[in-house]
Symmetry: none
Subunit: 215 residues, 2 copies
């Protein structure tokens, strides 16, 4: 299936960034990572004090969502890679984006098992899918030759949200008051922290050499 490469993309397989932009992104991620850690720290602090104060009635960290996740243990049949696992997988995929051999799979599985339940089949499937999907994207890119780069998107990118019928106000020209619409799911602290499972190494492969933030 062709299915194009990315959603509203147009048709390019690679993006080009300047060093500056790369740098900014790097920093941004690093900042977030740091902030998250800091916040977690603070939260723990406050939490402790609060408990000390004896007010742990509702216990906001035992929200339904969290417990439901736990309850669904019996019903969840499909493996879901944890962030830490995903990261490792991505790293490995980077090194050789070919399906690892049988033994390699075993090794990987063993390593990933330290971060959560996993089977060799899971790993195998993951690589199969990863490869297949990354390949598909490439194919959609080909149509353009040479400077396919940023040519394709230059054309018509006004309507990302494509409102029915009448054209909507061009959001690109809306400098301030960006529609801050963010339906955040209520997720518990534990879950939150869980997502940060591998904070130190959460800066993935596109080499974040060294970032000079608080991190």
């Amino acid at each position: 299936m062709e299915e194009g490469n990315f959603q509203n993309g147009g048709g390019l397989g690679v993006k080009v960034m300047t060093d500056e932009q790369m740098e900014m992104l790097r920093k941004q991620i690093a900042v977030y990572a740091t902030i998250c850690e800091q916040l977690v720290e603070m939260h723990k602090d406050l939490s402790a004090q609060q408990e000390f104060a004896g007010m742990r009635l509702g216990n906001p960290y035992c929200d339904p969502l969290l417990s439901s996740a736990v309850h669904k243990i019996g019903s969840r049949q499909r493996w879901t890679p944890k962030p830490a696992q995903l990261q490792i997988l991505e790293q490995i995929f980077e090194q050789c984006n070919a399906t690892p051999g049988r033994q390699k799979i075993k090794d990987i599985t063993r390593e990933l098992a330290q971060h959560g339940q996993i089977s060799e089949t899971n790993v195998y499937n993951w690589f199969q899918n990863r490869r297949a999907r990354s390949k598909r994207k490439q194919s959609a890119v080909v149509p353009n030759n040479g400077e396919s780069e940023m040519e394709t998107e230059n054309e018509s990118f006004k309507e990302k949200k494509t409102r029915p019928e009448d054209s909507q106000p061009d959001e690109n020209t809306t400098p301030l008051a960006d529609q801050m619409y963010f339906n955040s799911p209520d997720i518990g602290f534990d879950q939150l922290v869980g997502k940060m499972e591998s904070p130190g190494s959460c800066i993935p492969y596109w080499q974040m050499e060294q970032y000079d933030l608080l991190g």
Copy 2:
């Protein structure tokens, strides 16, 4: 260390990212953004109950910086078919409710593109979803006979052949990694929040796939 020596000097200071990398980057940041927001929210709740200690953040709910920064990050728009497009899609679906082939997708996409921004992926997804959901509807009608009721919704009879060997749905309660608590400089909440805003000038990675930099 040695970095692209000439690259910067030669005026060719660009890096190239693959789609996958871009995607990962996007996710990475999104995760952080969400986590940060959640943590901040919690923090505000908790500290609100500790007013006695002095309110560190003046207006708990007047953190435009934070909000805007995070929301901007967290927002992503998705393709929404216009009525015209939808109609065409439905028509095609009627003719053959099977997922169209590669070339077919391309054709359809091209046609729909005349009514608004769209990609092959959009079309592909649409058919996939359409099919899956229409199928599901049918099975939901079956309940008429006997006692079987609506097992369609029930997860019990999904024992098709799941889990080849040990794909244990573990979802163990997040390990609460201790490793993440490396020494943290005593930085205040406000400062933290402030930091989340500064990198806001960075490229909004959601739109990264459409930026036409290096212009």
